[in-house]
């Protein structure tokens, strides 16, 4: 394993918020981060997962110098985050606020040029880099229009392009695909894989489990200001005690269920009657990938007809549920709404 390029040690952050109830003000301390320690290795694609309010944005803001933690230390690209802020910022390309953070009265190209200058990229290199990004991200059709005329997806892809203007070795992306349509999100994920392949270290936050599983080599699950799980998606899922579930629908003679139950590796079989003599078997087993061919062979060999098979593997969502007792998706829906704030375009 390579050396860490991002390191956080015992980072803590408490916000003091004011509650107003019936005209009375009351101060309330909210522990956003509690003794968080994390290493992200050089060239790693790391996913930070958690519902809104879990602390992931606070952690990212601390790492990107936007917030100063109450305690702890952090380093990025060999630079102390608290003492060498400019060098840290020069080391990272960020996309933290979705399509906010763009100047709506400037064109896409002018935005890229503007932020390139803020990253000290020389003019000639900037022009070349911007042309490359416009081509890579297929911005040509709209890049010379003012941003105020863009769709949400176009703004998001421009915001992503902005994070690449300096070709920094580290990318920190906070839910970059959140308002993108499916093809654009897919394209962005493909580009991210390519950038990772080229050697970039990527810290990626999301609450879309399929994205994390597709992209990330290692994930950290954060909840209530603490990292509650850390490892590769495979490791985290393997560490769960829960078996996989395979759902099979079809027409099954009476003895089939018993035959399947008798297979070694099968923990249980639940049967649910469906219409027209059909049934649905929910089979719990240790490893659905290994067990599925054996189960199908056993069922078909007994004269049954299979109409539909759906293996349900353990997901990162299950890992989150197992560790917290709550669903990540439900938490996100509930907490997300109040955080939406009105904000026009940058002028």
């Amino acid at each position: 394993m390579s050396e860490p390029i991002i390191r956080a040690e015992h980072v803590a952050k408490t916000f003091i918020s004011k509650e107003r109830k019936k005209g009375a003000k009351k101060k309330k301390a909210v522990e956003a981060l509690k003794d968080v320690s994390l290493d992200i290795h050089d060239g790693e694609f790391f996913g930070l997962l958690g519902p809104n309010g879990a602390g992931k944005t606070t952690l990212i803001k601390c790492l990107t110098t936007l917030l100063i933690p109450d305690s702890g230390s952090m380093s990025i690209n060999g630079f102390d985050v608290l003492k060498e802020e400019d060098k840290v910022r020069a080391s990272i390309g960020c996309m933290l606020m979705g399509d906010r953070g763009l100047y709506w009265k400037l064109t896409g190209r002018e935005n890229l040029n503007y932020f390139g200058a803020l990253y000290h990229v020389p003019k000639a290199a900037r022009t070349k880099r911007n042309d490359y990004l416009i081509d890579l991200l297929e911005l040509t059709d709209f890049v010379d229009r003012t941003v105020e005329t863009y769709s949400s997806g176009q703004k998001m892809i421009l915001a992503f392009a902005k994070s690449l203007v300096s070709d920094a070795p580290i990318l920190i992306l906070d839910e970059p695909t959140v308002t993108m349509d499916v093809p654009t999100a897919r394209k962005l994920r493909a580009i991210l894989k390519e950038l990772h392949h080229q050697g970039k270290t990527i810290l990626y936050t999301t609450h879309l489990m399929h994205e994390a599983e597709e992209l990330c080599q290692r994930v950290g699950i954060i909840d209530k200001g603490q990292i509650i799980a850390l490892g590769s998606p495979g490791e985290l899922k393997a560490a769960m005690k829960r078996e996989d579930i395979i759902d099979i629908e079809g027409v099954f003679p009476g003895h089939v269920v018993e035959d399947v139950r008798a297979l070694s590796g099968v923990a249980s079989v639940a049967v649910k009657a469906e219409d027209g003599g059909r049934s649905k078997l929910s089979i719990q087993c240790a490893n659905s990938r290994i067990m599925l061919p054996r189960i199908i062979e056993r069922i078909v060999g007994n004269g049954a007809t299979i109409e539909y098979v759906k293996p349900q593997e353990v997901t990162l969502e299950d890992v989150f549920m197992a560790r917290t007792g709550r669903s990540l998706a439900v938490d996100t829906r509930v907490v997300a709404a109040p955080e939406v704030k009105a904000g026009g375009g940058g002028g």
């Binding site: 390579s2 050396e3 860490p4 390029i5 390191r7 040690e9 050089d42 803001k61 990107t64 110098t65 936007l66 917030l67 100063i68 230390s73 690209n77 060999g78 102390d80 400019d86 060098k87 910022r89 020069a90 080391s91 990272i92 390309g93 933290l96 606020m97 906010r100 953070g101 763009l102 100047y103 009265k105 400037l106 040029n113 503007y114 932020f115 390139g116 200058a117 803020l118 990253y119 000290h120 990229v121 020389p122 003019k123 290199a125 900037r126 880099r129 902005k162 300096s166 070709d167 920094a168 070795p169 580290i170 050697g199 270290t201 704030k341 904000g343 026009g344 375009g345 940058g346 002028g347």
Partner: protein, 292 residues
């Protein structure tokens, strides 16, 4: 803490040239943005004329044909009260526009999320603020000259009668203290997260202290000291006295006022920047600069 891995900083090449490029890029971007709001600059140019018109009409209404002589008798400054007030109103517009543009810039960037984008970039705030302040100064100077020319035509005064070169020297020397005041004002807006009411309040205090319609010798002595230590007052007095060929706040020698403005040019931008950075640091310990 030992973390050995460092992968460079990509295409970034920090240097004095890169810093100058930041100032220029920010300036050009602001000019492009304002040029995309049609007719704004033209409308702004009428503001100082309106500011000057109120007291001028009042002066004519009360003093009639003797208004100039009365103004001379009462102030000991000049009989050309129209030019006196027009210059005061134009300089006031420069000062208030700079504060408005910088204060509103901070607030708007905060609201739209672009302030956090600026804070994520390695560019030092000094250069970004320098770009914004230069833009504010250029925009307000454009308004100054258009308003002076149009106002001179309207009120039938000669804008080319005095020492224009010396007046321009006062304009240049007044720029840097205004820069510093802009930083302090920006820090204040960053902290309280509200621009409009502050700007409304401050601009009337500034107008009062600058003596845009009257010489500050009208004030009680203690208030004269306060007003005379305020850079826009010295700038206003320097421009006006040069153009009208009258005495300066600190006597008949122009260089005393000029030297004081130069001293403030060194001191105020540094003080303003330190205050801005201290405010920023305090915010980063609390809720962050992007919170609005």
């Amino acid at each position: 803490m030992a973390v050995a891995v460092s992968r460079g900083i990509g295409l970034g090449r920090p240097s004095w040239k890169a810093n100058a490029d930041i100032i220029l890029t920010v300036l050009v971007a602001r000019l492009k943005i304002i040029s995309r709001y049609k007719g704004l600059l033209v409308m702004e140019a009428f503001l100082p004329i309106v500011f000057a018109a109120f007291p001028l009409m009042l002066g004519i209404a009360i003093g009639g044909e003797n208004a100039g002589a009365n103004f001379m008798t009462n102030t000991g400054a000049t009989a050309d009260y129209k030019m006196f007030m027009l210059l005061g109103a134009c300089t006031f517009t420069v000062v208030t526009l700079m504060m408005w543009l910088i204060g509103y810039w901070v607030r708007r960037e905060q609201e739209t999320g672009t302030l956090e984008s600026l804070y994520l970039a390695p560019a030092k705030r000094f250069y970004v603020l320098a770009g914004v302040t230069t833009y504010a100064f250029l925009r307000s100077m454009l308004v100054f000259f258009i308003a002076l020319l149009l106002g001179s035509l309207l009120f039938q005064v000669n804008p080319f009668g005095g020492n224009i070169g010396l007046a321009m020297l006062f304009v240049a020397a007044g720029f840097f203290p205004l820069w510093g005041i802009g930083f302090i004002f920006g820090a204040f807006i960053l902290k309280i997260k509200e621009a409009n009411s502050v700007i409304q309040m401050v601009q009337w205090i500034v107008a009062f202290l600058m003596g845009i319609y009257y010489p500050i010798t009208f004030f009680p002595s203690y208030l004269q000291y306060v007003a005379a230590s305020f850079p826009p007052t010295i700038m206003n007095d320097g421009i006006r006295s040069s153009m009208l060929g009258i005495g300066y706040i600190f006597g008949s020698d122009w260089w005393v006022s000029f030297a004081l403005l130069l001293a403030l040019s060194l001191f105020l931008p540094l003080l303003g920047y330190q205050i801005f950075m201290a405010t920023e640091r305090r915010l980063k310990r609390k809720e962050g600069v992007g919170q609005y």
